[in-house]
């Protein structure tokens, strides 16, 4: 029983990270119909920049803030320099552009930082909390709390603020949104900033547990994408649930089946979801316009 609980804790912890990545995917996908394969690099940058700034002597909270702001700025730059110029390009081109951006960011991180594995201290110490025979790290609570708080924040933003509703309007119909006076270019910029910032936040929260290096991004991107897809592409609630689900499936696979193949769990999930419920848990069935 305590074993199951232990797997549950670790599953919820990584699941929270995947949920944050999935939320980032969802925001960009809704605003622009682009699936951003570089989403995982935002997580990597969040961790790496925080480590770098902290190692340079800045206090941890300030380092984390700098990391999130810098990553958000990079997200905006990516939109302006790589996504906007390619508007209307076929999906194949957009996939290659965002994968190119991902490889480019990795290459840049290798040069600016280094190729080592890094970490920084956990926010509230490393003494595990015992619950029912299993233990959970205080940092895990930070990660889970961060994911939930982000979700609630986004929900309030999208449903209760004028700006958030402008983003929703743009995702529903770009042209119609323009016609009622919404600055859709600004909406795009905002979406990329928000998405990159959330990714960086995930990196900041998770790094004391998962560690970071220049190459960790792609794994986060794929698992986050699996979560977003499981929940139903474009649905924030689905992204949250899907992310946690992928984390749990992964932890249970590692615990009970094979830790070598734990990464396979997410991909097998992706394939199963695609075959049997392409619209995901919360997605709407889509129809093609001819």
């Amino acid at each position: 029983m305590s074993e199951l609980l232990q797997f549950l804790f670790s599953g919820v912890t990584v699941g929270a990270v995947y949920a944050l990545v999935a939320l980032g995917f969802t925001i960009i996908y809704n605003a622009s119909d682009v699936v951003n394969f570089a989403q995982g690099e935002f997580v990597m940058l969040g961790g790496m920049i925080t480590w770098f700034a902290h190692a340079a002597g800045l206090p941890l909270p300030l380092a984390a803030l700098i990391a999130i702001a810098a990553t958000a700025a990079l997200g905006v730059a990516m939109n302006k320099l790589a996504i906007e110029p390619a508007r209307g390009a076929p999906v194949v081109s957009l996939i290659i552009i965002t994968i190119g951006a991902s490889i480019f960011i990795q290459g840049a991180a290798q040069l600016v930082f280094d190729k080592q594995i890094h970490s920084f201290p956990a926010f509230s110490g490393d003494d595990p909390i015992r619950i029912g025979g299993a233990t959970i790290l205080p940092q895990s609570l930070w990660v889970i709390g961060g994911a939930l708080a982000t979700f609630v924040g986004l929900w309030v933003f999208f449903t209760r603020t004028l700006l958030g509703r402008a983003v929703l309007a743009t995702s529903n119909n770009r042209l119609a949104a323009q016609l009622v006076g919404i600055n859709t270019n600004f909406v795009m910029t905002l979406s990329f900033a928000l998405s990159a910032g959330i990714g960086a936040l995930a990196g900041v929260l998770a790094t004391p547990i998962t560690l970071t290096s220049y190459g960790v991004g792609i794994g986060f991107a794929l698992k986050g994408f699996a979560g977003a897809m499981l929940g139903g592409m474009g649905n924030p609630k689905g992204a949250l649930v899907g992310g946690f689900a992928i984390g749990l499936i992964e932890a249970m696979t590692a615990g009970y089946l094979s830790s070598q193949y734990k990464d396979a769990a997410a991909f097998i999930m992706i394939l199963l979801v695609l075959f049997f419920m392409p619209q995901g848990l919360f997605g709407r069935k889509s129809t093609d316009r001819v």
């Binding site: 699936v35 390009a89 999906v91 194949v92 996939i95 994968i99 490889i103 290798q110 994408f225 001819v290």
Partner: protein, 318 residues
């Protein structure tokens, strides 16, 4: 005399393969050339899948991995001749592509990309983890093909580099010839039709699902043969051959040169294979440059290098 586009492509390719060695400053360049051809074979498969049929795969390195490990394992465990191991690998890849492709190819765009990516990663995970069979990430030795010795017996004495250069070049020409024939065949026309619009193609009686599956299986065989040749040439292989980066490289090569044109795609293979050789001094910059090239080409030269250049030469402008 006016040459058909097909004959012209094959002639250009054959001439390039035959003439370039006269300009090689050292024997090492035969090896680089052979690598370009090996990548060219895989990329020709991508042209069939992406250029003709409009489907994307981010997991084709998985098939290259199967072809490569078939050459490493079948001669040792099944006692097959390495040449037959190439055929076995291609057959396994074809069957697997058929099985996986049936459900996967119903998907479009991003979903197809991620599903194929997942497939590729599963293959590379198996190659990494089944150490008893594959020896894991450290890689495994591959037996000698033995054809060079046979040719020597016939009085055709070549260095190892020369042999692989001309052998892979020959197979590349064969692969390009088959792909060009496919383009003009009813299947090729059906593929191009469904690339334009699946619904329109279906309306005029194209069996869209079957056609897509055919293109997927054929391109998987190209990737598998390419992996086999790489393994046999290096006499050693690691699971990296099936890795995500290799899949991405294949697609990038094709798209860089021009995914709609065989010659263009092979040009892309040439550029991206040469890039690391040129950049050896700047090894740390390799990823940076690769990512940058991918973005720039897709933003500014959407059709790829060769079609864009040809268009400019013909003066039709954009």
């Amino acid at each position: 005399m006016k040459l058909s586009a097909k004959t012209a492509t094959l002639l250009v390719l054959a001439l390039m393969i035959a003439v370039t060695p006269f300009f090689f400053p050292s024997g090492y360049y035969y090896r680089v050339g052979a690598l370009i051809f090996v990548n060219g074979i895989a990329v020709t498969g991508i042209v069939i899948l992406t250029g003709y049929a409009g489907q994307i795969s981010l997991g084709h390195a998985g098939f290259a991995g199967i072809g490569a490990y078939a050459c490493a394992l079948a001669p040792v465990h099944l006692g097959l001749h390495p040449a037959l191991a190439v055929v076995l690998g291609a057959a396994i890849s074809a069957v697997l592509a058929w099985l996986v492709g049936r459900p996967i190819l119903r998907l479009k765009g991003y979903y197809l990309g991620v599903a194929t990516l997942g497939f590729g990663i599963l293959v590379s995970m198996v190659l990494n983890n089944e150490r008893d069979l594959t020896r894991g990430p450290d890689g495994i030795d591959v037996p000698e093909l033995g054809l060079r010795a046979v040719l020597k017996g016939w009085g055709l004495d070549m260095t190892n580099g020369q042999f692989w250069y001309f052998f892979c070049g020959l197979i590349l020409i064969l692969g390009a010839w088959l792909a060009l024939n496919l383009y003009d065949s009813p299947t090729g026309r059906a593929l191009r039709a469904l690339h334009g619009s699946e619904i329109a193609a279906r309306t005029v009686g194209v069996d869209v699902a079957r056609m897509k599956l055919q293109a997927f299986v054929i391109s998987a065989v190209y990737a598998s043969v390419s992996g086999s040749l790489l393994a046999l040439q290096n006499k050693f292989i690691t699971p990296d051959v099936a890795g995500f980066m290799h899949s991405i490289e294949m697609v990038t090569m094709a798209v860089l040169g021009g995914v709609g044109s065989i010659l263009g795609a092979i040009l892309g293979a040439g550029i991206l294979t040469l890039l690391p050789q040129v950049l050896t001094v700047f090894a740390e910059y390799e990823q940076l440059v690769l990512g940058l090239v991918m973005m720039l080409v897709m933003i500014f030269l959407r059709e790829g290098l060769l079609p864009s250049i040809l268009r400019r030469l013909r003066g039709t402008g954009e």
